[in-house]
């Protein structure tokens, strides 16, 4: 616990260190906190989202991302902290006056109303005349490619269609902020893929400030301008997909986003070693550490090939696995079994072949061992 709080202080202040961003930001969360008894669901979370920007809250289940989103929408009251949109403090404002579109994981379409009435629900609350309501509902349905579905009941629609109705229902109100809660997780893989692009496109065209909660890193990587990786109620790192992937700020981010090899390192008089083989790395903290290495940043080489400046680990190719768009080689080394991505067009080593693994010292990331 102490350790995690320390880590929060270390990286949780990042947005505050960028005052220019905070000034321009459209949606700002400051010190947002939610406790359930002894458990801290969200721990003093800070986040600033620019106007028209799309940010993903990415994390494993139970990390507090949905709680954060629900506090934003006013569905749960925070224990501490503030929510502001366009410099207006909304923390005490009830949900129905917040002007935020919310797309629920279950879509939450009203089963007793048809599609048009679902979409027009919020327009009716705003006292808009019937004819105008109908017109705008039709427009919104056309936007999500559901023209002609006005008279259907939600239960007569497929999952993807329900999802789009839910989206249209939120968008038709032209909300200041759009909140999406795991909105694609109930769709099958193929549909999810096309919906990702569709939602991203709509979000971009309308330039609507969006917060998207997901546990699926592909969704986060493809649908958002920036990603905030959450763990245990705090943001571990926030940045573009590239930044998150290439330079993970914490051990958790390195392990959670993308595939990665974890190699335990030991210290001796001369420096670090992995299974007795000397290793060089950058940014090494004190205490016991592990090396994190992306499979595609490791090169397969013959034993005879010179290492040069690179780190070198000898091993035996155990097996090559074809994963559809690439091949992976499982290599047994003195530091354990590692996964290495085969470069496109490169020949797979025979099972049992004696090979070497090479990587540049700056490609690996080293973090303190957690269970130390």
């Amino acid at each position: 616990m102490e350790q995690s709080l320390a880590a929060r202080d270390h990286c949780g202040q990042r947005p505050l260190k960028q005052p220019s961003l905070a000034l321009m930001a459209h949606l700002v969360l400051t010190g947002l906190t939610k406790r359930y008894g002894q458990t801290v669901a969200v721990a003093s979370l800070d986040l600033a989202v620019e106007r028209g920007e799309s940010v993903a809250l990415l994390g494993p289940s139970g990390c507090g991302k949905t709680t954060t989103l629900r506090m934003l929408a006013g569905l749960i009251a925070p224990d501490a902290g503030r929510v502001t949109v366009a410099d207006q403090d909304l923390t005490q404002v009830p949900t129905h006056k917040r002007d935020m579109g919310y797309v629920f994981q279950s879509y939450a379409l009203f089963p007793h109303l048809d599609v048009a009435a679902n979409v027009a629900f919020g327009l009716a609350e705003r006292g808009i005349a019937r004819s105008e309501r109908d017109r705008r509902a039709r427009e919104a349905l056309a936007l999500v490619r559901l023209a002609g579905f006005e008279g259907r009941r939600p239960r007569e629609l497929s999952g993807g269609q329900q999802q789009r109705v839910a989206l249209a229902r939120a968008l038709v109100l032209r909300p200041q902020v759009l909140l999406l809660d795991e909105s694609l997780s109930n769709l099958d893989a193929r549909l999810r893929e096309s919906m990702r692009h569709e939602i991203r496109e709509i979000q971009r065209n309308l330039a609507i400030t969006t917060l998207f909660v997901t546990h699926d890193q592909t969704e986060a990587l493809t649908m958002c301008d920036r990603i905030a990786v959450m763990n245990r109620g705090r943001i571990e790192q926030i940045g573009t997909a590239r930044e998150i992937y290439d330079t993970p700020a914490t051990r958790f981010v390195a392990g959670f986003v993308g595939r990665i090899n974890t190699i335990p390192l030991a210290r001796d008089a001369t420096g670090l070693n992995a299974g007795g083989i000397a290793i060089r790395a950058h940014g090494v903290p004190d205490g016991p550490v592990d090396l994190f290495l992306r499979p595609q940043l490791v090169a397969l080489a013959a034993r005879s090939e010179p290492a040069g400046d690179a780190n070198r680990l000898e091993g035996v190719a155990a097996r090559t696995v074809f994963v559809g768009d690439r091949s992976e080689v499982l290599v047994d080394t003195a530091a354990g079994r590692l996964v290495v991505e085969l470069a496109p067009g490169a020949p797979a080593p025979a099972d049992g072949a004696e090979i070497a693994l090479l990587w540049a010292p700056e490609t690996g990331r080293v973090f303190a061992r957690e269970d130390a």
Binding site: G74, L75, I76, A77, P94, T95, H96
Partner: protein, 265 residues
């Protein structure tokens, strides 16, 4: 919900008020059973245990208590013996007319007990079954048997199919599957429906009013007669005893399978 906090608080207050109203008669009965007054006066002017003492020496009520307990015991056992196989047939069988059979078994639950009681009086009179132990037991079965069948059929239907299939793949023949898997799994439901059948029979008033007589009257029938004639706190003392018994059964059933599930449809 942030916005709904006020609404749900008012909802909770309303709920508490309704619970109070539901409990009021029972609470008042318990309080008044310790009254020293000779009439129903609330709040009582003094306290005593005299109505409990009187109750013990009141012959008709004590005889009714004994008869009701006997009837209820027979009814509970017979309901289980007859109802369990029928429930199994309905839940596991796959034969033509199964839905019709289910409707047949559940139909008595839809009929007002007043009509059933009258019908039983007219039908049992020629057989000399009125105001006899067998007559009362048979009459109560009209209500408890469908109840047990419904409850046990639901119970069997909600048992995981996979477990029986698993037992079969492990080499157990159907009868062994039933005794080693199905029955142990259904045991809590069985005990609960037995307990509720006992309670239903013990408290059955309207049907008993029709098929009781001077020779044999169940406890609720004697209670009705007593309340019609006099209003003193003795019935409160008796009711308190009954409420305690009912609570014990309700708690047991709640522990076994959950009360709302047991009595709900």
């Amino acid at each position: 919900m942030n916005t709904g906090a006020g609404a749900s608080r008012s909802l909770a207050f309303a709920a508490a008020g309704v619970i109070g109203l539901l409990l009021a008669p029972v609470v008042v009965v318990v309080v008044i059973s310790f009254s020293a007054d000779s009439f129903i006066v609330f709040p009582p002017s003094g306290w005593s245990l005299r109505w409990y003492e009187r109750l013990l020496s009141h012959r008709p009520l004590m005889a009714g208590l004994q008869l009701s307990a006997t009837v209820a015991a027979f009814v509970a056992v017979l309901s289980l013996i007859l109802g369990l196989p029928a429930a199994l047939a309905l839940a596991r069988g796959n034969f033509p007319g199964r839905e019709a059979l289910r409707a047949f078994f559940l139909a008595p639950l839809l009929l007002p007990t007043l009509v059933l009681g009258l019908a039983l009086l007219l039908a049992f009179q020629p057989f000399g079954l009125i105001a006899t132990l067998p007559g009362l037991v048979l009459a109560h079965l009209t209500v408890t048997l469908p109840f047990v069948v419904r409850m046990m059929a639901t119970n069997f239907a909600t048992l995981p199919d996979d477990l029986e299939a698993a037992a079969a793949t492990l080499g157990a023949p159907p009868l062994r599957v039933f005794f080693r898997v199905t029955l142990p799994l259904a045991a809590p439901g069985l005990a609960a429906s037995g307990a509720l059948a006992f309670l239903l029979s013990f408290d059955e008033t309207v049907i008993s009013l029709f098929v009781s007589g001077p020779r044999a009257s169940t406890l609720p029938v004697e209670m009705v007669r007593y309340v019609e004639g006099r209003t003193d706190p003795m019935i409160a003392a008796l009711s308190t005893v009954l409420v305690c018994g009912t609570l014990a059964v309700a708690v047991a059933v709640e522990r076994m399978i959950g009360l709302t599930r047991a009595v709900g449809r």
